[in-house]
Amino acid sequence: MNYLWYDKVRGDDVEQGDIFENCPVLVLPSKLSLGPLGTRTEPQDIPFECRDVIVLSQTCDMVKYQEKTPEVLLCGVWQKSDFQAGQNMASNADWENARKGRMVGFHVLNKCDLEGFRRDFRVVDFRRVHSLPLDFVRNMAIQSGDRIRLLPPYREHLSQAFARFFMRVGLPVDIPEFEH
């Protein structure tokens, strides 16, 4: 039995695991000033970047006409070939550690061999989280034409990894180690 990782989809149905390439995300400057409540600012230059992102919101929250959320949670995704030597995640050792789940902030996705969507291995960066209006994402989905969707159980695996990362707790005072 062939458990495919991805499928090609089109249309404005948005599901968890949908990958949007070149999705614009705003990078708000640290010195952004909104002024006092009830005022309108002068026009400002706000930088944006186009990133590859994957949907992490639950599919059941984004069902058409039964939406439970006005915004979609997305995580940044990088392809293995995006990294240059010397960068984090540039070495195979890093990718192997991430693949084994030892780097809790990352999740590795398989390469895609679908016709027209041949892509390298990808890593989901749980520390780069974006939120976009659901209507905006639906519109982007229509404009994208064909796009790829991560299939079960790989998307549940991704969702679980994100939950594990998000729910981590670091204790300020840990229990001392038991001596053998």
């Binding site: 070149n22 705003l26 952004l32 909104l34 002024g35 006092p36 409540l37 009830g38 005022t39 309108r40 600012t41 002068e42 026009p43 400002q44 230059d45 706000i46 930088p47 944006f48 970047e49 186009c50 990133r51 039964q66 439970k68 959320t69 006005p70 940044g76 990088w78 995006d82 990294f83 240059q84 960068q87 984090n88 995640m89 890093d94 550690n97 991430a98 030892r102 780097m103 809790v104 902030g105 990352f106 960066d125 520390r127 780069r128 981590r168 670091g170 053998h180």
Partner: protein
């Protein structure tokens, strides 16, 4: 671990590889007694017995005090002091045609390599992150005028479970 006792006889003197009744009896009794001894050892009772096959056989439980939790599992130690066939006083007759070459032990055990992960939790890198992400394929700026109207309201949902 499976321990197989193989008795090899000369094919010239005795082509039928059949042990004598006494040898067969002794071997069976030895294995049955050893089995009981191992069960007793599993209950924490050290057992020692003597037999025609071995002078003394003792079994006991050993708990190692090592760092890795794998080694904290109790081990069963079996000590067998072997004796020569000529010392076997239960042997009541000798078959001159019978030439016992020797006993041979074949130890069949699964082989595996233990992974040295003394502290599995330490293998998790909670802090790994991408300091400098790959450059975006496209970037730019947009002109924005912010109309600061305060915090937004939650969207009304009648039944969150439907």
């Amino acid at each position: 671990m499976a321990l197989t006792l193989v008795e090899t006889r000369s094919e010239q003197t005795r082509p039928m590889l059949t042990p004598s009744r006494f040898q067969e009896w002794n071997n069976r009794e030895f294995l049955m007694t050893l089995n009981k001894a191992l069960q007793s050892a599993g209950r924490g009772e050290g057992v020692s017995f003597s037999s025609a096959v071995a002078g003394t056989t003792s079994s006991s439980l050993i708990v190692l005090e090592l760092e890795h939790p794998f080694w904290n599992a109790p081990f069963c130690l079996v000590e067998v002091n072997t004796r020569l066939a000529t010392d076997n006083d239960t042997r009541v007759y000798e078959d001159p045609q019978e030439e016992i070459l020797r006993f041979r032990e074949v130890v069949k055990a699964r082989q595996g390599t233990l992974v040295a992960d003394d502290e599995p939790e330490e293998l998790l890198d909670w802090d790994a992150h991408i300091e400098t992400p790959p450059p975006p394929r496209q970037s730019g700026t947009i002109k924005v005028r912010f109309n600061y109207v305060g915090r937004s309201k939650p969207i009304p949902i009648d039944d969150t479970w439907t």
